[in-house]
C-alpha cells in the first residue's frame, strides 16, 4: 500500500536578516489510516513541514510525496486529497461561520445544501451551538472559531488531514471535544492524520506513532509506548529530556 506521506531529506531555510534552517534532512513516512504526531517547541519546524505537505511551501532540498504524488510537481492532484487546520483559525472574521464554510465548500466543489448538512453534523459533534452558525466569527470565542476551522477541514472528506496544533489555546472542555472528535473520525472515516502539537499527553493519547522535532531535526520517532519502553520513562516529556538533554517545560518557555 502506498504511503500516505513520504518525506526524504527535506530541507528548508528561510533568509530574512539572517539565515534560519527550519527543516534539516527530515526523512519519515506515514502509513495510510495512521495518526502520526510531531511534537516540538515553537520554531522547531512543525508548521514548516505542514506547509510543505500542504503544497504552500517549496522545499530547498529533498522530496515529499502524498499518496505517491510529489508535493511540488503534482500539487493539483494532491489538493483534493488533503485539508488542514492551523493554530490560528484563519477566516473572514466579519462574516458568519456558515458564510465562511460555504466559501470553503464551493472551493472544494461542494454544493451549498450538502455543505451545510455536513458542517452541522460535524459542529454538533464538536459541541458547537447551532444558534451561533449565522453570527459573525469575530463574535465567537477562540474555541468556537477553532471548531469551525475543524469543520472546514473535515467536511471536504480529505484522505489526509494536516492538523497544526489544533487544540492550542483551547479551554479544557473544547480541547476534549476536539480530541474526541479526532478519535471518532479516525475510527469511522479511515483518515490519515498528521498532528503537530505542544501537548505530550495529547500525543500519547491520540497518535499511533510520534516524532520529537527540535531545531528542524527529528530527534527520535516511534510508537509512544515503544519509546517509553525503550527509554524506560513514564511519559514522553521524560523521553524528550533523555533524548535532547533539555527539559520540555524549559524548551517551551524558551520558545
Amino acid at each position: 500500500m502506498e504511503h500516505a506521506v513520504k518525506c526524504v531529506g527535506l530541507k528548508k531555510t528561510f533568509t530574512k536578516k539572517k539565515s534560519v534552517t527550519a527543516l534539516d534532512q527530515i526523512t519519515f513516512s506515514i502509513e495510510q489510516r495512521e495518526i502520526f504526531g510531531i511534537v516540538g517547541p515553537n520554531g522547531s519546524g512543525k508548521s514548516t513541514l505542514i506547509r510543505i505537505l500542504s503544497t504552500l511551501l517549496i522545499p530547498d532540498e529533498g522530496s515529499a510525496y502524498i499518496f505517491g504524488y510529489d508535493v511540488v510537481r503534482d500539487y493539483a492532484k494532491i489538493r483534493p486529497l488533503i485539508n488542514r487546520v492551523s493554530v490560528d483559525a484563519a477566516f473572514f472574521k466579519g462574516i458568519s461561520a456558515w458564510e465562511n464554510l460555504r466559501y470553503a465548500a464551493r472551493l472544494y466543489g461542494l454544493g451549498s445544501r450538502e455543505a451545510k448538512e455536513r458542517a452541522l453534523v460535524i459542529l454538533r459533534q464538536l459541541g458547537f451551538s447551532e444558534k451561533r452558525f449565522h453570527e459573525p466569527l469575530e463574535d465567537l470565542s477562540r474555541g468556537m472559531q477553532q471548531k469551525v476551522a475543524i469543520a472546514r477541514a473535515f467536511f471536504t472528506s480529505p484522505m489526509l488531514l494536516l492538523l497544526d496544533e489544533p487544540t492550542t489555546g483551547l479551554d479544557p472542555r473544547s480541547k476534549q471535544e476536539v480530541q474526541k472528535y479526532i478519535r471518532t473520525s479516525m475510527s469511522h472515516n479511515g483518515l490519515t492524520i498528521l498532528l503537530s502539537t505542544h501537548d505530550m499527553h495529547e500525543t500519547e493519547m491520540l497518535c499511533d506513532r510520534v516524532a520529537i522535532i527540535i531545531d528542524g531535526r527529528f530527534a527520535v520517532a516511534g510508537r509512544p509506548q515503544e519509546l517509553l519502553h525503550q527509554y524506560n520513562k513514564p511519559n514522553l516529556e521524560e523521553v524528550f529530556l533523555e533524548v535532547t538533554g533539555k527539559a520540555w517545560l524549559e524548551v517551551e518557555d524558551e520558545s
Binding site: 528548508k12 528561510f14 533568509t15 508548521s47 514548516t48 506547509r51 500542504s54 503544497t55 504552500l56 511551501l57 517549496i58 493539483a76 489538493r79 483534493p80 488533503i82 485539508n83 488542514r84 492551523s86 493554530v87 490560528d88 484563519a90 477566516f91 473572514f92 472574521k93 466579519g94 462574516i95 458564510e99 460555504r102 466559501y103 470553503a104 464551493r106 472551493l107 472544494y108 466543489g109 461542494l110 454544493g111 459573525p136 472546514r152 497544526d164 496544533e165
Partner: protein, 264 residues
C-alpha cells in the same frame, strides 16, 4: 475537477465578496455617498466652466469610478485574504489560479457595474442631462472592453499585496493615483508636461476616456470607435494572460520564500 466544480469555485469568490459587502454595508454607503457627491461636485465645476464641460467632466468621474473599482477590487481581494490569513486556505484548495482570479474579476465587474449605474442615474437626474444623440451601444462596448484591460492591470497589481501585505497595498494605491494623473480623466492629456505625457499612451484609461467622450459628446459612429475598441481589446488580451502569468510567478516566489504565511 469538472466544469460544475470550477463554476462553484468562481461563484465562491463572488458570493464571499458580496457577503463582505453586506457585512460592512455602512462603509459601502459611506463610500457610495462620497462617490456620488464627488461626481456631482465635478459636474458642478463643469456648470461653472460652461455647460459643454458638464458631461465632459462627468464622463471622467464615472469612467474613472468604474475602472478604479475593477482595479481596486481585484487587487484588494488578495490584500484582504493576506490580512485575514485565509490566502493559504484558498491557495491549497483544489481550484486553479485561473478560476480563483476570474472569480475575483467576476465580482469586481458585477460590483462595478451596479455602483456605476447607480451613480450614473443620480447624475443624469441631478443635471437633467440628455444623452439622446449619444452612441449608447458604442458606449457600453467601450466600457466592457476597457474593463478587460483594467482587469489585467488589477491582476498585475494583485501581486503586490501577495508579496507584501502592507507595503503592497500602499504600492497599489500609488499605482492607481498615477493612472488617475496620466490618463486624462478630467482634462486632455495635452496639458500634461512633456516629460510625463508619454506615460499617458500606455494607460488604457486614456483610450477609454477618449472613446467614451467621442461616443457621448459627439455621437461618434461605431466605425469611428472601432480602432479604439480593437486597441482596448488587444490591451486586455495581452494584459490578462500577462497578469495571470506574473501572478503565478509571484505565487511560486512566495512559496519558495514562505511569504504566504501570516503566522504560526
Amino acid at each position: 475537477m469538472n466544469l460544475k466544480a470550477h463554476g462553484y469555485g468562481s461563484i465562491a469568490f463572488v458570493e464571499r465578496n458580496f457577503a463582505l459587502i453586506k457585512r460592512y454595508f455602512g462603509w459601502e454607503l459611506v463610500f457610495l455617498s462620497y462617490n456620488i457627491v464627488n461626481a456631482l461636485a465635478i459636474g458642478l465645476i463643469g456648470v461653472y466652466m460652461g455647460k459643454e464641460m458638464v458631461l465632459y467632466l462627468i464622463i471622467g468621474a464615472l469612467v474613472w469610478g468604474f475602472l478604479s473599482i475593477l482595479f481596486h477590487e481585484i487587487s484588494e481581494s488578495i490584500a484582504w485574504e493576506r490580512w485575514e490569513g485565509t490566502i493559504e486556505y484558498t491557495f491549497m484548495a483544489p481550484i486553479s489560479r485561473f478560476v480563483h482570479l476570474i472569480g475575483n474579476c467576476l465580482h469586481a465587474v458585477t460590483y462595478g457595474v451596479i455602483r456605476s449605474t447607480l451613480i450614473l442615474m443620480i447624475v443624469i437626474f441631478f443635471f437633467n442631462i440628455s444623452i439622446k444623440d449619444a452612441n449608447l451601444l458604442g458606449l457600453v462596448i467601450i466600457l466592457l472592453v476597457s474593463g478587460l484591460s483594467f482587469v489585467g492591470l488589477g491582476l498585475v497589481a494583485a501581486i503586490l499585496p501577495l508579496l507584501s501585505t502592507e507595503k503592497g497595498v500602499y504600492a497599489t494605491h500609488i499605482f492607481e493615483a498615477v493612472l488617475l494623473l496620466i490618463s486624462g480623466v478630467y482634462y486632455e492629456i495635452d496639458v500634461l508636461p512633456n516629460w510625463i505625457r508619454p506615460l499617458s499612451y500606455i494607460s488604457p484609461a486614456t483610450y477609454t476616456l477618449r472613446a467614451m467622450r467621442a461616443a457621448l459628446l459627439e455621437g461618434a459612429a461605431m466605425k469611428q470607435l472601432l480602432p479604439t475598441i480593437l486597441l482596448l481589446v488587444a490591451i486586455g488580451v495581452v494584459l490578462i494572460p500577462l497578469g495571470m502569468l506574473i501572478f503565478r510567478e509571484a505565487e511560486l516566489y512566495a512559496k519558495r520564500t514562505g511569504k504566504l504565511k501570516r503566522s504560526g
